[in-house]
Amino acid sequence: MRPLQDIVSCVARAKINLSPNGRAMVGKIHALTVNDNQPLTLKCKPVLLFKISMWYEIVRTEDRPERGPWRVSTRSYMYELQTSSGELVLSYHWHPTSKVRNPHAHLGHTQLAPHAVLSYKAHHPTGRISLESVIRTCITEYGVTPMNEKWTEILATREGDFETYRSWS
């Protein structure tokens, strides 16, 4: 979980919750969330809230021995930005066991005009989105104050690992 701790530490002090036996049990899909499933409050104006949920599996690194015998492989994700009142702004989803199998984004209805063609229920296709890229966007595009002065280096390093070791894109 060290990579995830590093990534989250760029914008928040937080607690990562793992589902039961989520540190070690192999052959099972685990979940994680942050702060007991309460959104992180990002330091910016206007205030943004940030929810993080992921499914992951602990798998053998048979083809990458330099990484040690085990690694965490993402099985689904939800990275969601909300207004200070909890209304959806933007949410990146990938949950391949459901009807919409490919990564996509939902736009929050608070960001849409009353008669907009776009709908918050519509699935707008994306590539695979890294948590690092979402956090970087929060800092560079929405003025979130970084909580770690080394955020640029941390996100670049962790995203480099993500791009090197991910099993699909």
Binding site: D6, A14, E80
Partner: protein, 67 residues
């Protein structure tokens, strides 16, 4: 990797099964107005297979906490 001190600032906690079920139950009540058990029953019955509401996803992402 640089010393980020993240181990001190972002802790990792593994919840118990009871705590996990409580987490799911709260989310199901907040997002969908039903208990966690009711949500799981509907999920297992396939009632959300065509769901396109992000609120369903918010709850579904917590299913492994309860199982």
């Amino acid at each position: 990797m640089p010393d980020t001190k993240s181990d001190h600032e972002v802790e990792v906690v593994e919840v118990s099964r009871e705590e996990g079920r409580s987490l799911l139950d709260r989310a199901a009540r907040d997002e969908l107005g039903m208990s966690g058990d009711r949500f799981l029953a509907k999920w297992d019955a396939g009632e959300y297979e065509d769901a396109d509401d992000p609120a369903v996803t918010r709850v579904a992402m917590l299913i492994p906490f309860a199982r």
